[in-house]
Symmetry: D2
Subunit: 215 residues, 4 copies
């Protein structure tokens, strides 16, 4: 049976949970589209997150990788289009490190596009009643770094694997402490991740529908 | 057994459901804090909504009234502080009427404050993990009109009844059609309404905690 | 020659200037629509701001009063519709006082509507290229308190005077320190205040155009 | 005397002016830091904008290129970090074309980073009282396409030239028609562009200060 790797992050900043990991682990072991989900937690540490991802890929030997991360302040499931080769950390990571304008992979390409069918995934989510959109930036912190590391590894070592990154909103209990922050329930989130995996497994070529930004 | 009236609105604009009514009807008949919940749907019609509310109050004879309405674009359960004596309709209501700068009750006071313990309700919601805040404006449309009509009826006819208004976010399936709109699951919403009713029943005098706005 | 009183506030929080005062004082002494502008600065102190306003009114004997205040985070000139009889201070004022849920005038009405032609003012501003809108809440801090104090004084002591409140955005140099905050240049702001005074002097009855909020 | 090329766009959508061009042309012919500014207008047309840019570069032979574009809805001068090799047009361009997920340069790298000192430029703007920030995405429309075209041309043909892209807010008269949109006066904008050119001429290596995004 083919394998699918779904990663989430450990909590960071003041939060005690991270919805990206809660959603991933809820699906661990589940069979979707004839493949087995394997969930792994990544550290919110710039220096080690990508090594942990590569370890997980070596163990799981996935044909599809979906990395998840928290985007406090975003209202929907946002499927990332592109990873850029830079770290510019607005706050220190969980190891206290805060690099500024360092490449993730020295000498690597400036960016990689997701190899997941991002627009088909957004369309499937919306059709099932889950708020979702394509995002044009994954930021410049650990999430973008893992997305870039994944894409670089795929491009240079595992050309048959497909992978990408998705940002998710706060859980309601997190937003209750951040007045004004939008949220999404864990149930909706788990359903969203399952839907995205299913869509990615079923979609070889992405659909051509508009999901751009004027600026 | 004492009675509690919880109202929600029928759908309006393009929407097929209204979370305010979905949450109200889910609690219909339930017993909370030794009182019975009675849910009633109000029309999204400026000319008839308040008459429908008074009919429901005459039938139910509640000691507590909680009116709910949809606020597409708000991210949390927002407990309204004040109703103002004006209708300024940005769009036509479900009967096609769009009054501009008309009083809800000609000759009535300019405003009424909620007689619910709004800050205790927000504190209870947050403590239970539900995003919530105090709102300083209920707008100038049907929601504000019902809130004002309720408060005027209480002030002039039923001084022992307590009542107020709460705006709720879109459901996820509504936000899926409104890219960027925050949402809240129906489960969370039902839990929020039950929590607010319980808190209002248990709290005679509101707590003094800051929940203001600089502007 | 008739007199017009325009007030602005002293700086508060970390800011060194307050655009509401900069705009007011730039117009001090100017003649508009056959009337003389008198600018006065009010303290950002809940206990004394309204007494300072009444002193200024006693000195100036205005037929029109336009009070201005800063709304950091708002993008346009926002003309306030209604003042409410409550103080709920999110931060301490310049005297270190932070009342919670206290009336501005004990026993006073819950609210007053502006007696300025708020919609004609917004229409005139937009026609002249100045971003503007009607606002449904002036908050619960010093701005709202001065607006309420003004309206209460007019209603109870000076029924022939007209008056209201307008919130203005940050100056660019303030927004430069608050990443993400919108701003408006002082030149535009001065032009906006002159336009509003002129419109208010020329407009006895406000125009009926929609400027409401759904929630 | 060295030459500097500053480009702006023709108006698009319903607007009659484009602040990016108004700011550029106001500086045409001016001498800054011992170099001459040459302003050129680019069409808001995906198929021809980059050819027009290359023509202008061939004529002007600049050592520095600053391309400007409008970002309706943004509140500050936003200095773009990265251009990506994709067009995903949310609306048709001025020629009626709306490509979806097409590369700007087939076979080109996925992205280019700005070769301007983006953080020094933002620091200089803020120090002079102009709201500014680093942006992590230039969108997927004509602005991003010109930025990518410029960067590709520099990387492959003119390695000694430096260039980048900056998004600017609406003018106040545009925001007056778009309620809620932030704006910036043309005077501030012209001052901002002059400041950025001056800073770019004076700064060989960008400063290392944090300007990242968590997501």
């Amino acid at each position: 049976m083919p394998n699918i790797l779904v990663t989430g992050f450990e909590p960071f900043e003041a939060a005690r949970v991270n919805p990206s990991w809660e959603a991933a682990r809820a699906l661990d072991g589940r069979e979707i589209s004839g493949a087995r989900i394997h969930a792994r937690q990544l550290p919110c540490v710039l220096a080690t997150a990508n090594a942990a991802l590569l370890d997980a890929m070596a163990q799981v030997e996935p044909e599809l990788v979906l990395c998840l991360g928290l985007a406090a302040g975003r209202a929907d499931v946002s499927v990332e289009r592109v990873a850029i080769n830079i770290v510019d950390a607005r706050i220190p990571d969980n190891a206290g490190s805060q690099p500024i304008d360092e490449p993730i992979v020295p000498g690597g390409p400036a960016a990689y596009f997701s190899t997941l069918p991002i627009k088909a995934m957004v369309a499937a989510l919306r059709a099932k009643g889950v708020p979702a959109s394509v995002s044009q930036t994954a930021g410049t912190y650990v999430c973008n770094a893992v997305f870039y590391g994944l894409a670089h590894h795929i491009a240079t070592q595992r050309p048959t694997v497909r992978g990408g990154f998705v940002h998710v909103p706060c859980l309601p209990e997190m937003a209750a402490l951040l007045p004004g922050a939008p949220s999404m329930s864990l149930e909706t989130l788990i359903y969203a991740v399952a839907t995205m995996v299913e869509t990615a497994m079923a979609t070889e070529h992405d659909i051509k529908v508009e999901a751009g930004a004027l600026h």
